[in-house]
């Protein structure tokens, strides 16, 4: 019998093939993955890769050309707008497919399909926040306007045209690692991407749940002191002294506000799982010709986001008969988001406004079919959610929609499983809007009026749109759809049994804070409160004060400004808050009570130049000492709030201590004796020194070693695809706002001279493929504070030697 050995041998072969074709645990299907003709080796792009192409694609209306420069930036020349955005979609997919696919799946609450069981609660939360609901409403708006529909459709077709032509071997390496397949694109997915941005920038700016708990412990006056609306040291976006119009809407607090709302003492156990980073901020500023050496305005922008590889931004120039625009786009959406054209330049920072509130809902029973509203039982709309989970059975969830919005927390979804509170979300991102279309118009705006008209319909997330034109105008608008609130409306969970606590309207668009051509010759925004206390509306938010102060001080003192000066300002490491805090610490520390180590650190701190530069030891000592002091001051007081509450802003703490060195919170409630600021400051340094000593022994006392600045891959576990230990300084409250893995995601400087002179850099590269030399080729430049000169190509430049490759597009069958 020779058949038996054959059978055994064949079975082993088949077994091997089977084993290596399938995914086991976190390992990819190893055989297929390693195959040089199918697997990851196919993603190893030759260093001399030729990107020339001749593509016949059905769906295009005419011929078009894409000129790729030596940085792989596409300069798209199309005969009409349809083809322009079709090709933008095609290029996004060709170079960034995985990120578009992953981000929109996550936005829709489908992360479990990739990550498995650990993402179920994240997915539930996304769905309960109404992310898909919001995107579906946006699609209706997108498709209402024929031009908008045509352009979004074109973009979607372009993405899908690429997906169709892509072979298995060409599939991004992440798909091979995770053993998943890309999905076709749709307008809904573009809308989901924009809602992801809305969540990132306008959902983490409120603390209603935690504030509600704080309210149950602290008195109203205390709350105002601990969480002030207008910081003493605020330098607002619209210059102080700006006169505001009489408000067009005056919201009135309901009669029960004191008893049922402000005076109510209760706690909520619910807590958001994926609350966006508080540092999602940004800087932008513009200087008028009166302050520059050339006499032309200079506009600067650096949006601070979670840094990632591939980058959130993709550089592109889009040219058609109706527009010629250069800047960065978001893969997943058409248009240029931050950039310039022949006439104007613009940039954005986040408004940080609170546009999301919670209402307490009373259900009739556990079926969630009816809720009590305005004196009767109203029907909810129940949405069944089915969450697919990798390697597991589907998970079902039911979300009830009320007149306020989706009930995010209820008995079946709450971290603490308290089950006793049903909280519905009212969020501006749920309202019908078409933010993408703003950029279509903005890309084509020729002057201040067209810019102002373009952004006027932008609703959420509220942004500070800064502007400069070649004709010399500068301007800024804080634009968004913002509820008109009565005093303290929406700081805490509100009663939802009738309409009396609902938003009564929105601040009229024309009354959004704005400024144009101020005498002083510059404008800036850096996530601070947009206006001082004379602005006639109650506008809570998560504002960041220090960066605005630094920028304002620097710009006010400058004249004859050059592009080089602006580059230096982007990279500025000056710590304004520390400048205020250092004298306070030095005046109070009692040297005789310091450990020998602490004395050494104190000396380094004293000699510190107040810059958070990469090699600064003073910045590390400052940060540890100050953090330690905040613990000494607040821990005992804040621990009274269950389950938790945000601690006062560091800006607030500094201002409180400056005003009152005998502040009551200095005393530790848990001891019988009465502590003084001197004791706390001294203890804080001694405690911090113990940690600092450990860091020093590990060679991590220098600020950059201490915080280990890193740009991770979108899938953070794939450390091999990350760039870690970048030699940069900075911090969230410093102009160069780099924290551990967060910071300036794109730096742009546009000089509005006759021939626009523009510079830009982001910590990534144009090609999302980790096997490409264009994957992370800007990272070192970005870390060194260097820029790429942005080539604003014109029609006559087709044979310019900056053109490295040409992709020719024509209509296919």
């Amino acid at each position: 019998m020779r058949l038996l050995p054959f059978a055994i041998s064949a079975a082993i072969t088949a077994g091997l093939v089977f084993t290596l074709s399938n995914q086991w645990g976190p390992m990819p299907p190893v055989g297929k993955f390693l195959s040089p003709q199918y697997g990851f080796w196919q993603n190893a792009e030759p260093a001399g890769e030729n990107f020339d192409a001749d593509l016949q694609i059905p769906g295009l209306k005419a011929k078009a050309e894409v000129f790729l420069d030596d940085r792989l930036v596409p300069h798209v020349f199309a005969g009409n707008d349809h083809d322009l955005y079709f090709i933008q979609g095609f290029l996004h997919a060709k170079f960034r497919l995985f990120q578009m696919d992953l981000q929109t799946k996550a936005a829709a609450g489908r992360a479990s399909e990739i990550a498995g069981i650990k993402a179920i609660n994240f997915d539930k939360e996304q769905r309960r926040l109404g992310m898909v609901y919001a995107a579906e409403k946006a699609v209706i708006e997108i498709e209402k306007d024929p031009t908008s529909k045509e352009l979004f459709d074109a973009y979607t077709s372009g993405v899908n045209a690429y997906i169709r032509t892509m072979t298995d071997a060409e599939m991004p390496v992440e798909y091979k690692l995770l053993n998943i397949q890309p999905e076709p694109w749709s307008n809904l997915r573009s809308a989901l991407l924009l809602k992801m941005m809305a969540k990132m920038l306008s959902s983490g700016t409120e603390h209603d749940l935690a504030n509600t708990n704080a309210k149950s412990v602290f008195l109203p006056d205390e709350l105002k002191r601990l969480y002030p609306q207008v910081p003493d040291s605020l330098v607002p976006i619209v210059p102080k002294g700006t006169v505001f119009e009489t408000p067009g809407i005056v919201p009135v607090a309901p009669a029960t506000a004191d008893s049922l709302y402000l005076g109510r003492k209760d706690t909520v156990n619910a807590k958001e799982i994926s609350k966006p980073d508080i540092n999602n901020g940004s800087n932008n500023w513009v200087v008028a010709g009166s302050k520059t050496a050339s006499g032309a305005p200079i506009l600067c922008n650096d949006p601070h986001l979670e840094l990632s590889l591939p980058s959130i931004w993709y550089e592109i120039q889009l040219v058609s008969p109706t527009s010629n625009t250069y800047g960065v786009s978001l893969p997943g959406s058409p248009f240029v988001v931050i950039g310039f054209n022949d006439s104007i330049a613009w940039g954005v920072t986040n408004a940080q406004r609170d546009v999301k509130d919670y209402y307490e809902i009373k259900f009739r029973d556990n079926s969630k079919q009816e809720y009590w509203f305005n004196g009767k039982w109203e029907k909810t709309t129940l949405k069944e959610e089915i969450i697919k989970v990798k390697g597991q059975a589907d998970v079902k969830d039911t979300v009830a929609y009320t007149v306020f919005g989706p009930v995010m927390f209820d008995a079946s979804f709450s971290n603490e499983l308290s089950g006793n509170r049903n909280l519905a979300v009212r969020w501006v991102a749920h309202d019908p809007s078409n933010e993408g279309y703003t950029f279509y118009h903005l890309n084509r705006a020729k002057n201040y009026d067209e810019y102002a008209a373009a952004i006027a319909t932008f609703q959420c997330p509220g942004q500070n749109f800064i502007f400069a034109s070649k004709t010399g105008d500068i301007g800024i608008w804080q634009q968004g759809k913002f509820p008109a609130r009565w005093d303290r409306q929406g700081l805490y969970v509100m009663p939802g049994e009738d309409s009396s606590y609902m938003w009564q309207g929105f601040i009229p668009q024309q009354e959004n804070p704005h400024a144009k051509n101020p005498e002083r010759g510059f404008l800036e925004s850096a996530n601070q409160r947009p206006a001082d206390s004379t602005y006639p509306y109650f506008i809570p938010g998560s504002y960041i004060t220090p960066r605005g102060i630094t920028i304002e001080n620097k710009l006010a003192a400058m004249s004859g400004i050059t592009v080089k000066d602006m580059m230096a300002l982007h990279g500025n490491y000056f710590n304004t808050l520390a400048e205020d805090i250092r004298p306070l610490l030095l005046a109070n520390v009692r040297e005789e009570a310091l450990h020998p180590e602490s004395k050494k650190y104190l000396q380094l701190f004293r000699d510190w130049d107040l810059n958070a530069s990469p090699d600064s030891k003073g910045q590390t000592i400052y940060q540890c000492w100050w953090d330690s002091l905040e613990v000494e001051i607040w821990q005992d007081d804040m621990a009274r709030v269950v389950p938790e509450t945000p601690w006062p802003e560091e800006q607030t703490t500094m201002e409180l201590l400056k005003k009152d060195s005998a502040l009551i919170y200095i005393d530790n409630r848990n001891t019988t004796k009465r502590e003084t600021l001197a004791e706390l400051v001294t203890t804080a340094l001694n405690k911090a020194s113990a940690d600092l000593r450990k860091k020093e022994l590990a060679g991590k006392l220098e600020w950059t070693k201490f915080k280990n600045p890193s740009v991770y891959h979108l899938i953070k576990d794939l450390k091999g695809f990350a760039r870690m230990g970048l030699p940069v300084g900075g911090n969230g409250n410093i102009i160069n706002a780099i924290t551990h893995s967060h910071g300036p995601s794109w730096r742009m400087i546009v000089h509005m001279t006759g021939q626009t002179e523009a510079y830009g850099v982001y910590p990534g590269g144009q090609n999302g493929n980790p096997g490409s030399r264009f994957y992370d080729n800007y990272v070192n430049q970005w870390a060194a504070g260097e820029y790429n000169k942005l080539w604003f190509m014109h029609d006559g430049d087709r044979s310019d030697k900056q053109v490295k490759w040409i992709m020719k597009f024509s209509t296919g069958k």
């Binding site: 190893a44 030759p46 695809f721």
Partner: protein, 118 residues
């Protein structure tokens, strides 16, 4: 001579299988088996010829791709897999993984030929 022929044929047909759009990634297993049927050797030798043929093909291709890529991707993958960022180890692993399948497939071919002869 037979041995060398088998190795070369295995590598060559394995490569061709990898260029056919309808072929799954393991198409080379089928061609390795066929080569062993055609160029008959004893089971052990057949295994070795199949193993070396595919090892040479896979490691060779990987090496060539890696050289053109300046090891950009292999170093990253060799941090994920985890091979301490060592590109050569990854190339070797690639060769051995393919080689094992090629070897067993060829051995099956050798047995098949032997049993059909009887």
């Amino acid at each position: 001579m037979k041995f060398l022929t088998a190795i070369i044929l295995t590598a060559l047909t394995g490569f061709i299988a990898g260029t056919l759009s309808f072929s799954p990634w393991w198409g080379f297993a089928v061609t390795s088996l066929l080569v062993a049927v055609l160029v008959h050797q004893k089971a052990g030798k057949a295994f070795l010829a199949g193993f070396l043929g595919i090892l040479l093909l896979w490691a060779g291709l990987a090496y060539w791709i890696d050289a053109k890529n300046n090891s950009v991707l292999s170093q990253r993958i060799a941090h994920i897999l985890p091979l301490n960022g060592n590109s050569l180890l990854l190339i070797l692993l690639t060769g051995v993984a393919g080689g094992l399948i090629g070897g067993f497939a060829a051995m099956s071919g050798s047995f098949l030929r032997a049993s059909s002869k009887k």
